[in-house]
């Protein structure tokens, strides 16, 4: 008997009700609160804000709960909300040299003005599952040192004094910054748009590409000039006031990768830059981003484009996980009209082959 294979309103409503039930799980177990997620799953919140490109810890935490911890789904929820927000202005560029630093490391200098500061890092922890965490045991208060009055200039600025590294571009060099959320991307891109795309790109995808550059697919000889994590002021120019006012502070991770460059006919040998900047605390993402940024500058330095990480259209077209997951997963939507057309042509071609075989025999 022919049963309609088509879905319906009731099926969708029931599926969503079941999803809500599974999300909540056993009702005997207390429900998660937004504050718990913000406090105890802070790095998940950071990733959600970074790739969702919306700095709002509460909405990110809500998205994480609503998505049952599926971070790409959470990022998607944040993006779909972000896109409806009206744009009332663009902030003044943030100044990471004036960051309230919580972590700052340089792999290129043993010591430097402002010092090295490990901060809250997993580095040097032994990855042993901890029964104390399982039991929810008390955690001692951390040791803090008084704020250091010494300035912590960026390592790349120190190098720049000697002209050893290419100069950084400033806002004045390119006052007309693109906005990939407002204008369609048109290849080839300038670095401003590439960096925007990388900043919201999938951490895993950029990690793999960055890794590939270390294994010989577009080698860039990178050194971590500096990674710094901390809070920076966000300011907005108010036309009526004639000066910038502070909107608040955001936590960011900045990575300045310093790369070897042999020089060319026009440019003396000097170090070049790969740059990474991410909302929240995410060294892995910021470092991967800087590796990819440098690899993608191949054209600018007259390097041969030989590897995927250097290929702008390849990298930028496929780094957005909201786009990727949508298009991969759309394959589960019905395709029976097209499949029918394919069935028909395969059957016909098989029949023709059969006829030819018979004729030959």
């Amino acid at each position: 008997m022919y049963v309609a294979v088509k879905g319906g309103e009731a099926a969708i409503a029931n599926a969503h009700a079941l999803l809500a039930d599974r999300r909540r799980g056993d009702r005997q177990v207390p429900a998660l609160g937004i504050e718990q997620i913000i406090q105890q799953l802070g790095l998940a919140v950071d990733r959600c804000m970074a790739e969702g490109s919306l700095y709002d810890r509460e909405l990110a935490a809500l998205a994480i709960i609503q998505s049952r911890g599926d971070l790409i789904e959470a990022i998607f929820l944040v993006r779909a909300y972000r896109t409806t927000l009206p744009r009332f202005g663009y902030s003044v560029p943030i100044d990471t040299a004036n960051m309230l630093i919580e972590r700052r490391v340089s792999a290129t200098f043993k010591d430097l003005p402002g010092g090295q500061m490990l901060g809250p890092t997993f580095d040097y922890t032994h990855r042993l599952l901890d029964p104390v965490v399982a039991e929810g045991g008390d955690v001692a208060a951390p040791v803090r040192r008084p704020a250091d009055p010494e300035q912590a200039p960026r390592v790349t600025d120190l190098l720049a004094h000697e002209g050893l590294i290419e100069p950084d571009t400033t806002h004045d060099d390119k006052p007309d910054i693109g906005d990939l959320t407002r204008e369609p991307l048109q290849y080839p891109l300038d670095r401003d748009l590439r960096l925007q795309a990388l900043a919201r790109g999938d951490e895993g995808f950029l990690l793999a590409l960055g890794y590939s550059t270390q294994r010989g697919y577009a080698r860039t000889h990178p050194f971590v000039g500096e990674i710094r994590i901390g809070e920076v002021e966000v300011e907005l120019d108010i036309a009526e006031l004639g000066f910038a006012v502070s909107l608040g502070r955001v936590r960011v991770t900045e990575c300045q990768m310093v790369n070897q460059f042999k020089g060319s006919a026009k440019v003396p040998p000097q170090f070049t830059r790969g740059y990474g900047l991410v909302f929240g605390q995410s060294e892995r993402k910021a470092m991967s981003m800087s590796l990819c940024d440098r690899a993608l500058r191949a054209r600018e330095f007259g390097e041969d484009v030989v590897a995927p990480a250097q290929d702008e259209e390849f990298v930028i077209s496929h780094l957005d996980n909201v786009q990727s997951t949508g298009f991969v997963e759309h394959l589960k939507l019905p395709h029976y009209v097209d499949f029918q057309a394919e069935l028909d042509v395969v059957r016909r071609m098989r029949a023709e082959q059969e006829t030819q075989k018979e004729a030959a025999e």
Binding site: Y2, K6, G7, T83, V322, Y336, D338, A341, D344, V345
Partner: protein
Amino acid sequence: MSLIPSYNFAYLDEQTKRMIRRSILKAIAIPGYQVPFASREMPMPYGWGTGGVQVTAAIIGPSDVLKVIDQGADDTTNAVSIRAFFAKVANVATTTHTADATIIQTRHRIPERPLQAGQVLVYQVPIPEPLRFLEPRETETRKMHALEEYGLMHVKLYEDIAKHGQIATTYAYPVKVEGRYVMDPSPTPKFDNPKMHMSPALQLFGAGREMRIYAVPPFTEVVSLDFEDHPFEIQHFTQPCALCAATGVYLDEVILDDHGGHMFVCSDTDNCEERRAQGHRGHLSGEELEAAE
């Protein structure tokens, strides 16, 4: 920051709608040309019709009557979902009747009933670039369109004939619009291609993930690519619809058992229902099945 977000009529904010409408106007002015637009994230995933949804959201007004189909059917899950979305965010009337709709959003089919002047057909498009599988780079394909350099596509179709004795493309079959741009008709079966030609309705195509909008204005020439000695042909079915006995319509194959039993039914469910309401009966329509049991 308030935790209770609110949304505009038809979800998108008015600036975004204006941006999309400008792209649509440009697309209408250059039939078949892919206009880049700053596609937004939508509350459904990319690949689920975000381009079509954005086009519909930009053109829909409170007095519109919306029909949504997927695979020709009004009751496939994604069609139900998109229809419910607009009923919720735009509070518009919806219908399943092709004749009653002012806007029809579709995935993979064109309705069997000929469209009328004043109707808008909005296609959901996954890959808008007809040359994409011949040349993956956008920078290259843009040049090819600009120079009207379509030789590669003809070579592909020719190679099909050389290898298979026929053109093996069965859906998303490339067309030339108004003698200029080669265009992807979206993954509709090639059966539907002739319906695009000189249609009195406005046809709009939205590709969200790929950020492109293109259009076929009413009464525009749409020609499927072919060769003189291998003219374009649509699919033909050897049997009529098992429910409404329609011929000359696109049919879905439904598997009945695990012994190879199958039946063919209309892909366009609205057309099939209307025909049955008019008294047409196929050999497996409901009444006969009941009688057989």
